[in-house]
């Protein structure tokens, strides 16, 4: 919302006024509501991600979260925290910034391109595992959306901890499409199912990359979109249960999802299965026919004998 106002280009040098640590800007990675993230190098030449903005309170809240959740119970959830400082630019303006681990990954959508469709479920499963850890610590991720996910070595990683909210409090940041309140399916109070709903919407987005609006009857719209998608067919039951608020914990949804995935991996891929089934039923018909003819023949022979 606020004007960002800093001029940073590849090669610019950002030096912290408190610690004196310096970073060389390499390129912009993205920008959002509260700042811009740059790929940069520290003094040792190592890659890191530097987020700079103008709202120092908000950035500091994110730093507090990163410190807390770079690692929860030995499991890495967000990027790990590196540094926090203020930069005084050549015109004597001060900009707060922080530095975190650079996560070199692909956006979920480009990762999924050309992959078989169970990957939609597998990514959701990975996401649910991470959420399970975060939830155990008493926090919801909040602003869970594809923009805040990166795929690294076929594993989903969460970035942007700006929305992480203690259970029982109002979700700090959200994006309408992934927000159960927007769809009329619940409150904006942080609890485990708030994130589970967002997971279901990430799955829906896989089927509808352009997303869609809620229309006059939001829950009807959701149901129509879900049932119209062949990609989501295997997950239909689970997603509906999620929307009905049946899952109170990530582990429960994870369980349903793994049942679906295990079933699918044991049977041949869906495109061929259909044919197989058809062939199969043809076979059944054939067998029946032959048994009948044998019987008939047998009966005729038998009657012949009499």
């Amino acid at each position: 919302m606020k004007k960002q106002g800093f001029n940073l280009y590849p090669g610019s040098y950002v030096r912290g006024k408190w610690s004196g640590h310096g970073y060389i800007i390499e390129k912009e990675l993205g920008s959002g509501a509260c700042g811009t993230v740059f790929l940069s190098r520290n003094a040792k030449g190592e890659k890191c991600a530097l987020k700079i903005g103008s709202d120092s309170s908000r950035l500091m809240l994110e730093v507090n979260m990163l410190k807390k959740f770079g690692k929860v119970q030995g499991v890495k959830l967000g990027p790990s925290f590196v540094d926090v400082d203020d930069w005084v630019d050549p015109s004597r303006q001060t900009f707060p910034f922080y530095v975190m681990e650079y996560i070199e990954g692909a956006a979920l959508r480009s990762f999924l391109k050309g992959k078989s469709r169970e990957w939609v479920g597998i990514c959701a499963l990975q996401l649910l595992s991470d959420l399970e850890h975060l939830h155990r610590a008493g926090y919801a991720f909040g602003d869970l959306k594809t923009d805040n996910l990166l795929m690294v070595d076929s594993r989903v990683r969460l970035i942007d901890v700006g929305g992480v909210t203690q259970f029982g409090r109002a979700i700090k940041e959200y994006t309408e499409f992934y927000d159960r309140g927007y769809w009329g399916l619940g409150s904006r109070k942080a609890d485990p199912s708030y994130d589970l709903f967002a997971v279901s919407m990430i799955m829906l987005e896989m089927a509808y990359p352009g997303r869609f609006e809620k229309g006059v009857k939001p829950s009807r719209t959701l149901m129509n979109k879900l049932t119209a998608s062949t990609l989501l067919k295997p997950y239909q039951k689970m997603i509906i249960q999620c929307w009905e608020g049946k899952y109170l914990h990530a582990s429960e949804m994870k369980h349903s999802l793994s049942l679906v995935l295990m079933k699918r991996t044991m049977s041949p891929p869906p495109s061929r299965r259909k044919k197989k089934q058809q062939q199969g039923s043809e076979k059944v018909e054939l067998v029946t026919f032959s048994i009948l003819s044998v019987l008939f023949l047998g009966v005729s022979i038998f009657s012949f004998w009499i």
């Binding site: 919302m1 408190w18 120092s56 309170s57 500091m60 809240l61 730093v63 507090n64 926090v84 400082d85 001060t94 707060p96 029982g168 409090r169 109002a170 979700i171 309408e176 309140g181 927007y182 409150s187 904006r188 109070k189 942080a190």
Partner: protein, 245 residues
Amino acid sequence: MKPGRLKQILLLTDGCSNHGEDPIAVAALARNQGVTVNVIGVLDDRQHSKPQGLDEIESIAEAGGGISQIVYQKSLSQTVQMVTRQAMTQTIQGVVNKELQEILGKDQTIEELPLDKRAEVVEVVDDLGETCDLEVLVLVDTSASMNHKLPTVKDALYDLSLSLNARTGSNQFCVYVFPDTKKTIKKMIDWTPELEKIHGIFSKISSGGYTPTGPALKEALYAFTEKPFFHSMQDGVDPYEETGL
């Protein structure tokens, strides 16, 4: 620190005032009375250029110590809740800064604190935003050009109450519209903790051809300052309680 009670006027309009006293002056007065004024300018989805006169929106919010934002109808919900919450944070930060200055000397603000202190103070501000009580008086411009935007406004207000009621602190909302031929503004919904049952509130509105933003804000301010008496009887809270920290 004890969370206080924050007071805000949220003005939803789509044009400039053309009648009565200067809305910017009234906003400055409101700020002085401890009431923050936020303004949201609502554009038509088809509208491409900013209609003129919307500079006023920025000036009103500035004078009122609040936040202004001009948005298309389709992002109204998200904006309304964001502006309200940001204005809350801003007010709380202002109070905290004042305290800091008392302790640490002038010109000391959160942004200038050493990093470790800042890390602690932002958590305190965040806590206060979650737990403080909030009163929002929504003032909707229902002049002719706003008419077809009113269903969206209604949705946004419902959404606002959804967002704020997720907080630990309590909320009170009321809704006024203007212009009203008799009393400048007209109360549509009296103070209530939830804006859920607002169906049909904008249906019987006669819209005049003028936009008395200044007088409407003034009436809204009166409605605010008169309100604590009734409120104190309701929940027994000291009506003049300041944003105590």
